[in-house]
Symmetry: none
Subunit: 120 residues, 4 copies
């Protein structure tokens, strides 16, 4: 479920964060559902536990999950729209960047449609 590409220039902990947000938005991870423990996930993905912890802590800071020593990590009771907002914040930056370069709204919309056809 959680897909990591260790070759990518995107830090592993960022990839994990995004992957988990994705699972929550899609409803695959539900409210109060327990996430795999840091250690077990570390073993499964052959990634250092500290790296997983970093991803979990980043999600906790944003209120997307909550963790307590002795119990584990769980999905927060969040409106999905709020979680989406985190993804869309990144998207906004890209849009601003493109608009600043003199690319028109229509060109961007066109581009989204193309991307949707060839989804990776």
């Amino acid at each position: 479920m959680i897909n990591i590409n260790p070759q990518s220039r995107i830090p592993i902990y960022e990839q994990m964060r995004k992957s988990i947000i994705e699972l929550i938005i899609k409803g695959i991870l539900k409210e109060h559902e327990q996430l795999p423990s840091i250690r077990s996930l570390a073993k499964d993905l052959s990634i250092n536990p500290n790296t997983i912890a970093k991803a979990y802590q980043s999600l906790e800071r944003d209120g997307i999950i909550y963790s307590t020593a002795g119990r584990g990590s769980f999905v927060s009771e969040l409106n999905k729209n709020i979680v989406k907002e985190y993804v869309l914040m990144d998207f906004d930056e890209c849009v601003q960047e493109a608009l600043k370069s003199g690319i028109t709204v229509d060109e961007l919309i066109e581009r989204i449609k193309k991307n949707n056809e060839v989804k990776t």
Copy 2:
């Protein structure tokens, strides 16, 4: 013209690259027009000359500018659409990222329109 924010976490050479591409797309920098020399730009922006050189090299690698030893750097004779393509490649990544998270095409289009209203 070339706007650099030293507080940003985006590398300076990356900001320079984007800024120059922007000027070309908007037609402010025209074909065969000479870019400021590395040294003068370094002085003007109080930025390390190596950083400027890195930005110029990156643009040259992509054929967006060309340099001749002893004469300077110049804007290439490029179709603007090709230059735009470099900006849109970044945009595509953002779109893919959002679609992967289960965000719909309509939500993204909506978002572009909102961004266009509040352009930064």
Copy 3:
């Protein structure tokens, strides 16, 4: 009566301790009154009995409650001011922390008044 928030990052045994102290200060738990047994409380709150035991032991260590093997745990015959002192010790730390940061006494008093209006 005893309120536990499993999502909080404050350890459960700590929350229990505070909750019981609160009940004593408010006079809801009276001197020599029996506390619920560890087992029954564990069942009611679905909390690990060891965690409850830890909270009770902490209170016993401070003389706030006393336990007799086979009979149970009871509220001590304590001056309420002494119990309050335990809460105020925590408060003192916060005050010292704030004063050290160059925040003035007046600012803190102001802040207390605001907090009192919007009590959580």
Copy 4:
């Protein structure tokens, strides 16, 4: 300037964070002033660089400082009141805790005054 007590139960990176905030509120660290580099501070305090980095990153996340690889870490251009707010947020929690326990506003104010006399 930055005081760390390795014995304390408060994590080192938290102590550092508080210490730096304190220096900013007091005006000892000024806007855009450069903080000591992670490595040099690590050597000075004989603390692991990772721990310092954690403190700096926490401050950066809150916009109190900004860091860029290759340049260093600097105090942000922040209204001091906003920085104070971070300290006062902790204070608020303490106040709420005390009020919940049935301690009165007057008792708390009295307490602040006592603390101010015996400042640690």
